[in-house]
């Protein structure tokens, strides 16, 4: 069976859900005839028509707000942010209107907001963002950020079927670099469950999205060069977070490195560290350490971007530090 890219996996997921459920429709900028800036919605217009694949004006707040309104009426909108960086324009709509709808007014709001996220692509400060930390803080939103093609497909399908709003972040660096054979049939991955990306005994790396691959790369190298056995946990979902999986790996290795691409201060790693502290403090043989981007807007010149973002070599050093603690 043919290998499918991360991008194509998302496209398949969208396609299958739109086939399955007539209430699912997509809206966003340039998603129709053009198929989206990255072609994630390529072919949807031809198959489902202008009524279900809607090109909107440049209005992120209205895209998200309109999706909420349609969702209240029983539809299942999927919003594309042309780049996830522009979700900031819908921040009020998402955190105040959408996230509270069920709680304050018993209004169901089943919708998905998806878009190309993340760096390593010379995109500069406004086409490389990782917005998860800004939303993790808001009760009422769910957040997923897949690292594999199979999870990308399984999670977009779950997100569309979920009864609440799911933020579906797609890592653009992985779009065409990750290829896999996908499970056949109605492949669904549950929201809120982490994945053991690599079994290990000595040190755990807890991460998600693009840095999962850097962690795996580092694990390889550490096994070869240091004979260290590194376990890599791919969280996949950030809200809800899989505490069980996190605690399990802590109890197994007693040493944890939390890694994400986003800037360190105020990032998701702080939340993960606090949870480990609360749930498995007695099991720690070393402090939980965080690796992430330096606290600056992301510059675009290769040398600068490479310096600011966490790299495989950083994870290697971080694991060595923990192993030697």
């Amino acid at each position: 069976m043919a290998e499918v890219t991360y991008l194509e996996a998302i496209r398949q997921g969208l396609f299958e859900e739109m086939e399955r459920d007539a209430d699912v429709f997509c809206l966003g900028e340039d998603i129709g005839a053009y198929g989206g800036a990255f072609k994630v919605t390529d072919g949807l217009l031809e198959r489902f028509g202008e009524q279900r694949v809607i090109d909107t004006p440049i209005s992120e707040a209205a895209i998200i707000g309109a999706a909420a309104g349609a969702a209240h009426m029983g539809m299942r909108p999927v919003c594309e942010m042309q780049f996830i960086d522009f979700i900031s324009c819908g921040y009020d709509m998402l955190t105040n209107y959408v996230a509270t709808a069920r709680y304050r007014a018993f209004l169901p709001c089943p919708m998905v907001v998806r878009g190309p996220s993340g760096g390593y692509v010379r995109g500069g400060p406004f086409h490389s963002q990782n917005p998860e930390a800004a939303f993790l803080h808001t009760p009422g939103l769910k957040i997923v950020y897949p690292a594999t093609a199979s999870d990308a497909k399984g999670l977009i399908k779950s997100a569309i079927r979920d009864e609440d709003c799911v933020l579906f972040f797609e890592h653009k660096y992985l779009y065409r670099r990750i290829k896999e054979e996908l499970p056949t049939g109605d492949h669904v991955v549950p929201i809120g469950k982490a994945r053991v990306a690599r079994e290990g005994r000595d040190v755990s790396v807890v991460t998600y999205a693009a840095t999962v691959w850097k962690a795996l790369e580092a694990a390889e190298q550490l096994e070869k060069e240091d004979g260290l056995s590194v376990e890599v946990i791919d969280l996949r979902s950030l809200a809800p977070m899989d505490d069980e999986a996190i605690v399990a790996t802590v109890k197994k290795t007693n040493r944890v490195l939390v890694v994400h691409e986003d800037t360190v201060t105020g990032g998701v790693a702080g939340e993960i560290t606090a949870r480990i502290n609360e749930l498995a403090f007695e099991w720690l043989d070393a402090p939980v350490r965080r690796i992430g981007a330096h606290d600056v807007p992301l510059p675009y010149a290769p040398a600068l971007e490479d310096f600011v973002l966490p790299q495989t070599s950083d994870i290697v050093r971080g694991v060595r530090w923990l192993a030697g603690y």
């Binding site: 809607i54 209240h72 009426m73 029983g74 304050r104 009760p139 009422g140």
Partner: protein, 384 residues
Amino acid sequence: MPHACYFTRVHWLPTSVWNVMSTPSAVLEPEKSSHLSPAQQLDLYYWMRLTRTLEERLVALYRQTKVVGGLFRSLGQEADAVGSAYALEPRDVMSPLIRNLGSMLVKGATPLEILRQYMARGDSPTRGRELNIHFGDTERGFIGQISHLGDMVPVMAGVTLSFKLRKQDRVGLVYVGDGATSTGAFHEGINLAAVQRCPMVVVVENNGYAYSTPTRKQTAAENFVAKAPGYGIRGVREDGNDVVAVYQVTKEAVDRARAGEGVTLVELVTYRRKGHAEHDNQSYVPPGERERWAAENDPVDRYRQVLLKAGVAAPELDAVDTRASAEVDAATEEAERSPMPDARDALSGVYADPPAAPELWFRRDVARVVDAHERPASWGTYDG
């Protein structure tokens, strides 16, 4: 002063309608007949009276500190709220604001629900979660607003987009204040709806103020219909204190939306006679302005005169007044018997799944959460 200009631009009875088409402004003839049966005409009077009586009761309860949070009046605006909502069918959906208590009553909200909301009772529509009239019911066709102004416009664009996509014979109406027209959400929402030709009516309630800010500090335009051409939609401006005119102009916009003719912006010119909320002393209002509107242009008095001139007998109208008071009395008694919310209900229903947020570690097996001395001395008064 915009309010002054309202006096010059808005004629009392008979009212006239300004239409601004997206091509250079043309002027339409005023509507002729009201298309309202005698029963319907009395209906309008009843809803306006009920609105005013209920709000007066709320003021009394507020003074007795039985209301939690701020109290927002629509005194002097009952005609714009009632007349516009009356143009909707039961299957249509509306998004009200804090001044649209009257619209909500017309759409099926009950005085009992509203009293329970304001008193933060456990059996209120939001079970004590949201304030004042921030609640909704998709069955009856009104959506619970949030405080952030303008946000309901994109939401209603989506509600009406769903009507269009599903080919349902339904229309949506969204209220915005003069102040809310300055928000980015208003602009993005109305533009999206216009491009999609959604069956949506946008009612701009121009009551002269946004909190303390007069309309001239909100926009440099002379009026709000002037915004319609920029969105390629139809715009109409009407005397918001003439309940029949309001009904007519809204009804026409609703009918056009239903017929697939897209969005209409309806500007209703009215006046906010009370402060933004009860605590607001209106020190910023020019002397005499409120008094003038009260004396010359009270929508309930005006309509009462219209009905009397039309031959309705005074006792018939008095009977309506009595009925409204009786209903509010009964609702008040029942609302006062309503229970306070159960604290632990606070954790339920953020998501469909999980059904409730976990109780945090420092609370496990704790009965009493708050020590008396911790309860804030005052509940304060917080705005819309």
